[in-house]
Amino acid sequence: MYDVILLRYGELALKGENRPFFERALKENICKALPNIDPKAVKRRHGRFFVDVAEEEDIEKMLSALSKVFGLVSISPAVRLPLDLDAIKEGAFALGRDVIPIGGTFKVQTKRANKGFPFSSPEINKEVGGYILPRLAEAKVDVHEPDVIIDVEVREDYAYVTGRVIPGPGGLPLGTSGHGLLLLSGGLDSPVAGWMCMKRGLSLTALHFHSFPFTSQRSKEKVIDIAQVLTGYAGELRLIVAFFTNIQKEIQTKVPEKLRVILMRRMMMRIAQKIAQREGALVLVTGESLGQVASQTLESINVTNQVVDLPVFRPLIGMDKSEIIDRARAIGTYDISIRPYEDCCTLFVPRHPSTRPALQEVEDAEAGMDIQALVEEAIEKSKLIIVNGRNSCG
């Protein structure tokens, strides 16, 4: 029955002269999200995208993939019909049978862009509604708060009927805001932070710090699995695993207990900044939330921030843990993040970390370390993992 998917995008429409740029990027991302699709099957018309459905059994998979394409506001599977009232009535009935729940209510809502069509919108509403109602047992019409709106759009070439609206993630097409570097741990926060930046059009490289044998192989597998979930939104993801073991050792042996975490964060930022340059990233993204732990107080963030020149996005800064958890569930990373393997942040956490470190004492503590050599070693011994998600466009 369904032969086309209708894709609506919102914010892009406001982008003035840059609109073609955003629309091109969006089209490319739509193609990437759909394995084996012929790019010709994706058309833009009337401020929408239309995707032809070649095999109807693929439709749920297509809808699920499209619901993760940033920039899309909503998605509807649609029936494409010739410009003929009887055909529209029959098509709307077939669709209604599929989407109106038993005993549910509906209304028909027509938009007639094609003024040459011989019936007015109210006439079409009445004709189509009147056709469906007696044919669907227990269905009722409710024009105020219907369970289902049967949408009829009469265009120049065809009429389209839809009845199901799947929300898209919104935001801007991936890549249209540039490229960033996400500091990705196995925890709950950083994947959500990455997702939120991707939603605003940022494409990402992910960076993970691995401290084997202090953390296990499984904690690395966990990060790869999280990256895999993110590829559902991002297509392919470059995941760089930096060698953090010797830095961890150095900090443990040379630094007072309460300053270890903050020094670790500073080392991470230094490494991240260098890798960002190599990856062409103009921003670092972290999962910090103000006051969540000792290293995320304003004082700590200040001291951490001193070692980087790039801007650092912290999209979770104002979110509560419960909000982050809800978002992680919706994205699909929650179940992986709660697996019980240590990441390098948690293993060495001292009992009483400093919540208000002063820059001077932190710099003094660092003085005995060969920072440049450690950073270089961490980068040199890092490994690149290409995490694959979607297939690419034809």
Binding site: P213, F214, T215, Q248, Q252, T253, E257, P340, F348
Partner: protein, 388 residues
């Protein structure tokens, strides 16, 4: 130096090449279904019978009492749930220990949630269950006692014969189940001598394949099947038999039984060598659990206070040595082993514990190399953890 030194044989073992050879023939040639009427089925049925006989002879029981399952966990479930589900006039109190394998412990907890009153017997600090404590826990309502033979984490050998005796002294009709997964094939255990009604065993702990185990059911003992279907295994365990697994199990059990005394001596000498080397090279190592006669020859649980077991496991792994932790880690706090906790060990001891477990494939050289590596790794880690 060998490529790897595998000292995690309580988790699982390498399959004996002889067992693999026997199984290969089954996969490729004797692939019939034992329930089939034709000759190919009959042929396979005979092979299962042989495996049954080989396992029964080790336990010195009738072959009809051996029911093949998918492994130790299923055997324990069948024994415990199967007993609990039989309708009875008298009570439904069940008894186990707090140091059982999770396949027993969590089955008891599940039954407890369903309303069965449960008593968990605590061990002493060597990981041993006192038969007197079992006797005292038994009431008029008691229907089942389940105690393990060898503890999988610390290797203590429970006084099964004595426990069986006190249980049956109280009342003949109390069912006595023993989870013998860790000791079977390494230590003698006989249902007759121990008054054991139900006994669980598994193939992959003694160089057999994964995915196959058995439950001994004493003649006349009533249990309900957990898995119903075509009525295979005398109706106690439906489902087409895992023929290659069963035959492989039979072969592995035969090999283990033939060499039991010699193997046991070899394992013991490995363990003694390890203890001796540790006392000279790593004097601050702590041995957890029973030693000597009261402990299995292949398991040694050690603690190195100040170093987390997990970190030690990973550090040894970088040197090609595989052991396991006594306790698994969750995010910030180490969730310590229920066995070590029940034995009353301090958290610092239990979170720094590792388990070393031998098989007959290990050598004296393995022990020496392990101790050398351990010494290096501890030195390195102690420096890093200094002041932690």
């Amino acid at each position: 130096m060998p490529d790897e030194i595998y000292l995690d044989n309580s988790a699982t073992t390498r399959v004996d090449p002889g067992v693999v050879g026997v199984m290969e023939g089954i996969f490729l040639n004797e692939y019939g279904n034992p329930s089939s009427l034709h000759g190919k089925g009959v042929q396979v049925e005979k092979l299962i019978k042989e495996a049954r006989r080989s396992i029964a002879s080790i336990l010195q029981v009738e072959p009809e009492g051996i029911i093949f399952t998918s492994g130790g966990t299923e055997s324990n479930n069948l024994a415990i749930r199967g007993t609990a589900m039989v309708p009875r006039r008298r009570g439904h109190h069940i008894i186990t220990s707090s140091i059982e394998h999770l396949s027993v412990l969590n089955t008891f907890r599940d039954l407890e949630e369903q309303g069965y009153p449960v008593t968990y017997i605590e061990p002493d600090k060597r990981g041993l269950i006192n038969p007197e404590a079992v006797a005292q826990a038994i009431t008029d309502e008691t229907i089942l006692v389940s105690i393990m033979h060898v503890n999988n984490e610390v290797g203590s050998i429970e006084p099964i014969d004595k426990i069986g005796e006190v249980v049956k002294e109280k009342r003949r009709d109390i069912i006595f189940h023993v989870d013998a997964v860790q000791g079977f094939g390494k230590l003698p255990i006989y249902p007759e001598r121990g008054n054991i009604d139900l006994l669980s065993i598994s193939a992959h702990k003694l160089h057999g394949p994964k995915g196959v185990g058995a439950l001994f059911i004493r003649k006349g003992v009533k249990i309900k099947p957990v898995i119903t279907g075509g009525g295979q295994e005398l109706g106690f365990r439906s489902g087409t038999e895992n023929v290659p697994g069963i035959v492989g199990f039979g072969e592995a059990a035969r090999l283990a039984a033939d060499g039991m005394e010699e193997h046991s001596q070899r394992l013991n000498s490995l363990k003694e060598r390890l203890i001796e080397r540790l006392s000279s090279s790593v004097p601050d190592a702590i041995v957890n659990g029973a030693l000597g006669e009261e402990s299995a020859p292949h398991i040694l649980n050690l603690s190195f206070p100040g170093i987390r077991g997990e970190v030690l496991v990973h550090s040894l792994e970088t040197r090609g040595i595989f052991v396991s932790t006594g306790s698994a880690c969750s995010s910030r706090k180490a969730s310590t082993s229920h066995v070590l906790t029940a034995m009353g060990l301090k958290e610092a001891i239990s979170e720094s514990s590792i388990r070393v477990s031998f098989s007959i494939f290990n050598t004296q050289e393995d022990v020496d190399l392990f101790v050398e590596a351990l010494k290096d790794v501890l030195k390195e880690l102690r420096e890093i953890y200094r002041g932690y």
